[in-house]
């Protein structure tokens, strides 16, 4: 954008109205320009992956109903997976796991997805840096770099990753996915970046069970931090020292 020229040669007393308006316009433009430029190229600071935040989930296993699949359906609709019709050969970003305690016989059920670890083994093993962790803790696959070696699938302790075995069409614009690459739960990063919550959490609230909570683990005042402070919760496979961002209470 071309700024109007400032005329510094004229002494202030000799300035006429036109010059005054011109200089005023220039000052106004100079003041506004950074803001406009910021909006055009820099964007809203909150929309970027903020290293000060760490997104996580808290799942209350008590509230999760055995026969409810709302989170799974919501995720597959939101992100466009699961319609290939391959049963267990198809991709699954989130799944319901039914548990039965071997010692007591108590039955429960919970959703499992990528745990968005702080020390993700999938990121460690990826040869091309396609599997990476964003500054705000969300672990993603950069499918531009993924060569489809499946080493991250071998390395994930939670079986969170899926391989796309065939051509995909009609992908969702916010969730590109294609043959020969690996994918997993993105914590609905396209929603989170605009201030929203993941589709699974929304769907769970909508059913009334409210078993899933989403929030910023680094913010002591967020609902999730307060819940983690007050109620006991566990991370799955804690012994591996991965510090996942997804925690389960009442397991």
């Amino acid at each position: 954008m071309k700024l109007p020229a400032l005329n510094f040669d004229k002494k202030p007393t000799e300035m006429n109205r036109r010059d005054f308006l011109k200089s005023g316009g220039a000052v106004a433009t100079l003041t506004l320009a950074p803001g406009v430029t910021l909006m055009a190229f820099g964007g809203d600071a909150e929309a970027q992956a903020d290293p000060g935040k760490r997104w996580g989930l808290l799942i209350d296993v008590n509230k999760c109903a055995k026969d409810c699949n709302a989170c799974v359906s919501a995720c597959s609709t939101e992100n466009g997976w699961g319609q290939e019709g391959h049963g267990d050969k198809g991709a699954q970003w989130i799944r319901k796991v039914d548990l039965k305690d071997k010692a007591t016989g108590r039955e429960s059920s919970l959703p499992m997805m990528c745990q968005h670890c702080e020390n993700p083994p999938c990121v460690d093993v990826c040869p091309t840096n396609a599997s990476f962790k964003r500054p705000d803790g969300i672990v993603l696959v950069d499918k531009h770099k993924c060569i489809g070696c499946r080493y991250c699938m071998m390395a994930c302790p939670y079986k969170a990753r899926s391989f796309i075995h065939e051509d995909v069409t009609d992908q969702k614009a916010h969730a590109p996915r294609g043959k020969g690459t690996v994918e997993s739960c993105t914590l609905c990063v396209h929603r989170v970046d605009t201030g929203g919550t993941p589709a699974c959490v929304e769907a769970c609230s909508a059913t009334g069970h409210g078993a899933m909570m989403f929030g910023d683990l680094n913010d002591p005042d967020s609902e999730i931090s307060k819940a983690l402070d007050n109620y006991p919760s566990v991370a799955l496979r804690d012994d591996l020292g991965l510090n996942p961002g997804v925690r389960y209470s009442n397991l």
């Binding site: 190229f41 992956a49 964003r134 500054p135 069409t169 992908q171 614009a173 590109p176």
Partner: protein, 142 residues
């Protein structure tokens, strides 16, 4: 030896024939034209796409110039059923040029080549390009 050379040159000449047809017919887009001009975008679109995709992917910055989603929305081309075509059809905007220069497009193995909300894209049939208009005028003048 001479015959070999002549036949080789003939074959090379054949390869140049498509250029005589005058280049690819690129469909017009909807929406505001690019500020930098078409030539700039023709030459630099891959650089811009790659840079901006890394910004979005790695840093979560979604306010970018070269958003593939916006590209396919403005550059949607309608097929016979008045719906935008995907890269399966050779009428697709990207394919009209990429087919001509024989550069394979990798983007659309993962990205959707149709706009997600087609009703927002301007539904415009293929506009005749300057060659066709000139030919028509020439005919009309006769």
């Amino acid at each position: 030896m001479k015959r070999l050379l002549v036949s080789l040159m003939f074959l090379v000449g054949l390869a140049a024939l498509p250029a005589l047809a005058g280049g690819p017919v690129i469909p017009k887009a909807s929406g505001a034209p690019h500020a930098e001009g078409n030539e700039y975008w023709r030459i630099n679109h891959m650089q811009l796409l790659k840079h901006d995709r890394d910004e979005t992917m790695r840093l979560g910055d979604r306010d970018i110039q070269a958003s593939l989603k916006e590209c396919v929305t403005c550059h949607a081309v309608n097929g016979d059923d008045a719906e935008p075509v995907s890269t399966a059809s050779d009428k697709h905007f990207c394919r009209t040029c990429h087919d001509y220069v024989a550069v394979k497009i990798d983007c659309f193995s993962c990205h959707n080549s149709k706009p997600e909300t087609p009703k927002q894209a301007l539904m415009r049939p293929d506009t005749p390009d300057s060659n066709e208009i000139a030919a028509y005028l020439k005919e009309a003048a006769e």
